[in-house]
């Protein structure tokens, strides 16, 4: 990867990380629990992107494994919270 590309990827990464902030704002401000849940879920999605960019930067493909796990299991927490919101219980 060329230096220019490296810089661009770094920039992309920085934007992605900064995007976490408004997302977190939504988690903290709500107003409804569903809003927060949805924002949390979006944070997971953003993190997946961040991890991939990091993998790209560090040149280590194994880092992507982390995002695989995150993609597969971010869902669990989302579903559990959603079910709790909907039915007052998890299972």
């Amino acid at each position: 990867m060329s230096d220019a590309a490296n810089m661009l990827v770094q920039a992309a990464l920085t934007v992605m990380v900064i995007l976490l902030l408004p997302c977190a704002y939504r988690v903290l401000s709500g107003p409804t629990p569903a809003d927060r849940l949805q924002a949390t879920d979006t944070i997971t999605t953003l993190l997946i992107g961040i991890i991939i960019l990091l993998a790209l930067l560090q040149g280590s493909s194994f880092v992507i494994d982390i995002s695989l796990a995150l993609a597969a299991f971010g869902l669990v927490a989302t579903l559990a919270v959603a079910r709790y919101l909907a039915e007052g219980r998890v299972f």
């Binding site: 590309a5 493909s61 494994d65």
Partner: protein, 113 residues
């Protein structure tokens, strides 16, 4: 610069752009349902675009990234749907809704009982 890298970078840029738009939507849109539209679609599109870009720039990880994209594709609508359903059952009001068939259905079943 190799052509793959250029395309990859463009895809990366697109991905970041869509992610950003999704986040803007999350902030701007008026209620949770509309925000789910933003995050569920725009961010997913952003992520997939990022994946594609990375796959081009890091071909050795392409397979892994494809699997990851598949995962996102499977999980993203489910999460959106679950959150929307939860919101609805919680009674979160729908901002400026012009029509609500679900509310009508609920009233109908309540009347039946």
């Amino acid at each position: 610069m190799v052509i793959g890298e250029v395309v990859g970078l463009i895809l990366l840029g697109t991905g970041v752009f869509f992610s950003a738009v999704g986040i803007i939507g999350i902030i701007r849109l008026p209620d949770v349902y509309t925000r789910i539209h933003a995050s569920g679609k725009v961010s997913t599109l952003g992520s997939i675009s990022l994946l594609a870009g990375t796959a081009l720039m890091m071909p050795e990880a392409a397979l892994k990234l494809i699997v990851l994209a598949l995962f996102l594709l499977i999980t993203s609508p489910v999460a959106s749907h679950a959150i929307a359903a939860a919101a609805y059952r919680q009674g979160v009001p729908r901002a400026g809704a012009v029509r609500d068939d679900l509310a009508a259905r609920a009233e109908q079943s309540a009347a039946a009982e």
